[in-house]
């Protein structure tokens, strides 16, 4: 009797230790990144895993200036903002027509859109690059906005379609009888009823756009058009030996998203799940 209890206690204790270790392994790289951004290069060279002696925030300011980080933040924000606006507007209208309006050939249209999901940015990178050059969009933020939005449409349409399906069609039919136009029904009924779906699409695609790298690397060649991802990558090649600042720039890249995540945690997770499940 006593033995069984002792075994159980031992098991629960060892489980706790294991979980604790797992958490440390999981979170420590990020803690290490933050701590070392407050330590001088000499301190890091002497001992890479020590604690900072003081918290001097000027290193962030220095890295910010050297990387022209304000501009990179603005560029990333500009791309994500307009991309998400286009994705939400175009994909929600299509999904609305696919689920609620009377459209013939719905299935065919939907299948065509969905099948385009196998096309990734990587696959069509070369022809897109040539197209951007021919259109004079190379090294222009709108190259990334438009191509990124187009490639996101299939997934976004699927997410919207899933969200709109729970809106009863009788609602639409009776509204039509009352003389409500399709567009009005969309704005006054569909949008408020499907708000969680809209927020999922916004979060998922904003995060995706914010972290995008390949198009930024390929289309946006000049320094003034760097996004956060390309800016930190260039910073790493330019300041290789300055470890304090390498850590600082990584922190700077994470902090904006971290702040949003803290406030919008529930929506972040819901958005990621919706993006995955409908994909």
């Amino acid at each position: 009797m006593g033995n069984g209890r002792r075994i159980r206690k031992f098991l629960s204790l060892s489980a706790k230790v294991m979980i604790g270790l797992l958490l440390i392994v999981d979170v420590y790289p990020i803690i290490w990144m933050f701590l070392n951004s407050f330590r001088t290069n000499n301190e890091i060279y002497a001992n890479p895993i020590g604690l900072p002696k003081s918290f001097d925030f000027s290193v962030f300011a220095e890295a910010w200036v050297k990387a022209d980080f304000g501009r990179a933040l603005f560029n990333s924000f500009y791309i994500a903002f307009f991309q998400v606006v286009i994705i939400v507007a175009a994909a929600s209208l299509s999904a609305y027509a696919l689920t609620i309006l009377n459209v013939r050939g719905k299935n065919i249209i939907y299948n065509v859109i969905v099948s385009l999901q196998v096309v990734s940015g990587q696959i069509i990178l070369i022809p897109l690059f040539a197209l951007m050059r021919d259109m004079g969009l190379l090294d222009h933020l709108w190259a990334n906005i438009l191509s990124g939005a187009a490639l996101s449409f299939p997934l976004a349409t699927m997410i919207f379609k899933g969200g709109f399906q729970s809106i009863p069609r009788e609602l639409y039919e009776s509204a039509v009888v009352d003389g409500c136009s399709d567009m009005r029904f969309f704005l006054k009924m569909v949008f408020p009823l499907a708000k969680p779906t809209f927020s999922s699409v916004v979060i998922y695609h904003a995060l995706f756009s914010w972290n995008e790298y390949l198009f930024a690397l390929t289309f946006l060649r000049s320094a003034k058009n760097r996004t956060v991802t390309t800016a930190i990558q260039v910073f790493f090649t330019q300041w290789q030996a300055n470890w304090t600042q390498l850590f600082a720039i990584l922190c700077l890249a994470l902090i904006p998203i971290l702040i949003l995540y803290i406030f919008l945690q529930k929506y972040f997770i819901a958005g990621m799940v919706a993006g995955a499940v409908k994909g």
Binding site: D26, Y45, I49, L93, S94, I124, L146, F153, W243, L250
Partner: protein
Amino acid sequence: MKKKGVKAVIPYLYFLPMAILLAIFVIYPLYSLVATSFTKWDGLSAKEFIGMKNYVKAFRSEKFWYSMKLTFVWTLLSILILQPVGVLLSVIVEYVVKRRRASGVMRVLFFLPMLMSMVAIGLLWQLIYNPSLGLLTSVLSKLNLIDIMNPPNLLGSRSTVLAAAFIPTIWQWSGFGMILTSAAMMSIPSELTEAAAIDGAGKFNQFFRITLPLLMPTIFLGMTINMIGAFKGFDMLYAMTAGGPANYTTLTSIFIYKLSFTENKFGYACAVSVILILIVIVFTMIFNAAGRKIDERFT
């Protein structure tokens, strides 16, 4: 009559913005990709039609096959490891940890790496793996597991680079697998497990007999997502190793990028892209079919 015709067209206008952008930025490039794959093109001068030569070249190229092999291994690792680790984390967070506050905090922490861009992750892990100043060297030498005078360069040697490069992927994507699994767990009606508990089934049996089978479609979905992600695996590896050392981490996607943007072999690179998308399509079809089977079987 005419008015009716116009009215029938109106709903199709809702597709217009999407259709235009898809046509210009997805469908036309796709066509152009296939067309260019039959040409010799340096990116600037006129394309020269050379038939199947690019494809023949690819199939005879050792580098191409090596990149394919690497892509397969990378994809297989992604399918087999990422989602199961996610399920494990989810079980810990939802089952093993009893206090709700604690599991809430853990959920947030395990998900944290998902917020970083894959580029930032590649760069951070480059620092972690640094043989002289990295986190790993420091910790292992403090534990007396390695000789500080002769630390291993995990990203620099052929035998370790692939495993070392894959670990950050686990670090990031297991958090995603966890939230996916946890969301599915929450949608399982609690009556099912409660009924089993009344019938005398222990926690262990409840999980393996009831919860896990119901989670199968979600687990498989996670695997499919990781499969697709693996084929896209470019950002992190390119930032961390740029395909090196030599070409030991040159996935097909990195191979294509280097062919086009450093060697200016655009026609050849297009042919390799066409081969890659065909493989992705086959894999996607297999996974979709299998997914439907699993859905039928477990729900």
